[in-house]
Symmetry: D2
């Protein structure tokens, strides 16, 4: 199958369940909301070595936030226990500390809830306050008052939706991946947690040579090893591969993000092949076949 | 004492020793080096709740990097053992994974060294290679080859240099803090690790009411508590205070950063008072008196 | 009348007809479309001294553009004859020259049309080509091929919708204006053509002292002249005023932009008064009363 | 000759004299200085169709500006008469109108001077004021006071320094050009006036087919015409070419910018050939041979 002249492999992405929280950070301007969100979602590319996976889901206008100020929605993804710990730490250290911020639950209808009791920071000077119908705590701080909800919904979402952008050289593949990330940014409910949304060094589980490694380079997809590895999956003429990894609130939005991303990548000259990563289908309960995206 | 009509308090910042590594991240363009650096230095505002403190020190031209490509220098600060762990994790998850990156030691003359053995990711396909006179490992990855040094210098630096920007209202204080951060960005050897470089909720050690809290709001510096707290340190007419926290390679660069930052903040209309934070002088070995900056 | 504690003056904005073209610029990534759009809309703040008024209306996903690539929609506003000249020059010099761009008409249903014959640049090597159902010209250029439509709709729109954001000091007013611009960016069909969307030096028609000046400072709204000018319109306690000027495709979108912008500005601490600019109501056919926005 | 495996053509760039002014724009923060500078240097890619060529030369810290605030230096280039007109219009419409700006002469030692009398905007309320040893006018405006010098040095500089970045495909050439622009940004005294600093559609003087055209596509450098044009200059295997055009204060800085830019482009994978543009050497008095750059 081809799209805009690019071969779409007959492959599927294999993805996994994860717990997800969605947090709305507002601030005096969009830029200040973004800076807090950026700090709060850093060091969060992959659950293999980071304490969680996190990213910016999208921007919200004042009409869409409880306090009428511009906002940024972020997703934080991890196992249930780790998720609570990470939401607490990241809100406490990266958002409560940031200028002019407020924080609201982005999943008010979720049944599962976690408590994030930042109000202890107030040392007794804090008090309860309603903002936009939300029950919040106001904490006196040096720049005035921090206001935030402390009860956050979490849902069982999807981690590891993915596809591979393969190029006739490295820059074509990179710009294809960039175009994909641009397109995915417009899809609600998803994040691409890697740097700039793009993975340059996709991995396989474990290691053949170094048994202590939980993950190692995926040699079958390494263009420089194409002639050295028996069962290479690098198509002829491909010199670089980028992986786009997508986490999201549910299967539908991950699927939509994959569709938007693949189509966008295929518009970039020099992108020649699209595939996806899986582990044979026995590990993850979610499967997204590339050819079902069109 | 006044500078540009702004009162400079007779106070000093009290700062602490920390171990610091300086890492040079290069990439195909400055923007891609920045994105990796941004991810690698996220969730790293304060050692109180983050695993380390980290930030971007500055940008480097191709003339200044071992591989002749544009680069970004970052500082990572923590206790010695934690530092090694964090450098390993952040390089492995946020830089090795990022498109087109390479990594080099930014403190080649430091005597203390840490080993960051990313080459195990290569699963045996990796090999040694010299780049710009540096002994590196090349690891075949999906986008081509990752190249990096694995031996990094660390030095005993300074954490917690600081000053307070006080404004007649919140926006004046915020823009004063922003101008300070702009100015500090031009000083070598330092970072401002908080979101956008600015702290909106400076803390005191411990808590009077909640004994389990390692830190809590610094009520003496909370403008909304000015009439409620006996020994308030909020000057009359001050409605908001931002703290700029500076970590650096040595006392000299932290002092220079404080000087540049304070002077810049004083140029912003509505900034009325500059002070600094300390703990009585018994905790930290470094003292930076504000009036010595001029 | 008050909104969020901010006084809304009983005033109206007086606005004028203008011809408007809406042009869609696409490129390989959103960033490259933006850079071309940014260059094409520069030096275009005010028709008083610039050859036109122009700005970025919004970003478009690949689903919304004729060639399936990410895009930016810009508006260019001027008198009819000047508009054609400016569209030609700006597309020729700032978009055709930019990397990977294509150009499409953003008002395909408009009855009035202008021809923008860039294909002569092809020196005979150009040829016709259909893209997404649009009749285009493809021009061989150094980076490959430029593709663009040459027939653009224009409509009679509205120039000079406006409001004033008044603050208790300069930084409060500036951040209020910034929040307004953020909010207006989410409204379709409008631009704010001044630098960063904000005017720091609103003007009156003509000059009392220098007869050769077509416009001069609006002394009634100058805070530093509050005590020197008899009929000052600066409310007590106001130290700085910013004007947001809005051009748009029709009255509805200008009104919506004013409403979103005013509400957003009122959320910023230190913003104390909102007014609007007019010339007594005899010059412009469009009137937008501030109190009708709520 | 090769550099990093890239062929450096035995060609020279042919450049022309131009008058240049260098203007320092300061503002409350670097970002606000940038926004004014960005607006003031828009619609200014090429003197062929724009009223001038202009761009951002670099950023200045508060230590380097007359008023101690962060600044941006811009260059505006044109014939002498046009230059004065453009400096007047661009400062009046794009900088005086921008929030919190001030303007200073960036060539105080130049013998040739132009007068830019913005103070008439003050309608008699303006007054003279010294700032940082510079004789300025202060004009009461809505956001407070605008302050600026009115006497600007101009020098005879160099326009049209250039080189071509040729890639094995479009994305490689584009990223090579981007890396070049990144590198040139660090060189003082120069600008790259095209969108994002890069030209996608380099031109020849005049047109063979359309006599009314002052410039048209340079078919000898069009990759898609390689097989159709007799005397093509597109090397085998080249699929896209970008031109970097440099204007500067003197020959030395243009030469340095070319050197930095070429070396940076050669570090990008897929860049295969560097050349430069000239008109046979009879038109422009300045010649920069590529091989002299190394």
């Amino acid at each position: 199958m081809e799209y805009n002249g690019v071969t779409i492999d007959d492959e599927y992405a294999e993805a996994f369940p994860t717990w997800v929280s969605r947090i709305i950070i507002t601030a005096v301007t969009e830029d200040w909301a973004y800076r807090a969100a950026n700090e709060a979602t850093g060091f969060a590319t992959s659950a293999i070595g980071c304490p969680c996976e996190a990213g910016i889901e999208g921007f919200l206008s004042g009409d869409e936030t409880p306090d009428g100020r511009p906002g940024v929605a972020i997703l934080i993804c991890a196992g249930k226990k780790k998720l609570k710990e990470q939401v607490v730490e990241r809100l406490a250290e990266c958002v409560l500390t940031a200028p002019t911020t407020a924080v609201f639950d982005g999943l008010p209808e979720a049944e599962e809830r976690i408590a994030v009791k930042l109000h202890f920071f107030g040392d007794g000077y804090e008090y309860q306050k309603e903002v936009g119908g939300r029950k919040c705590w106001a904490i006196p701080i040096m720049n005035g008052e921090y206001v935030g909800e402390e009860d956050f919904g979490i849902v069982k979402g999807v981690a590891g939706g993915n596809f591979f952008v393969m190029g006739e050289n490295q820059m074509a593949a990179l710009m294809g991946a960039q175009a994909a990330v641009d397109a995915i940014a417009g899809v609600g409910g998803v994040i691409t947690s890697f740097p700039g949304g793009i993975v340059g060094s996709g991995s396989k589980v474990g290691s053949k040579k170094y048994k202590f490694m939980p993950a190692s380079t995926n040699e079958k997809y390494c263009p420089t090893l194409r002639e050295k590895v028996e069962d290479t999956k690098v198509p002829e003429g491909v010199k670089a591969i980028y992986e786009i990894v997508i986490d999201g609130l549910d299967e539908d939005c991950v699927k939509e993000a994959m569709a938007e991303g693949v189509r966008a990548a295929c518009m970039v000259p020099g992108v020649v092949f699209i595939s996806a990563g899986n582990f044979g289908g026995n590990l993850g309960p979610f499967k997204f076949n590339l050819r079902d995206l069109f």
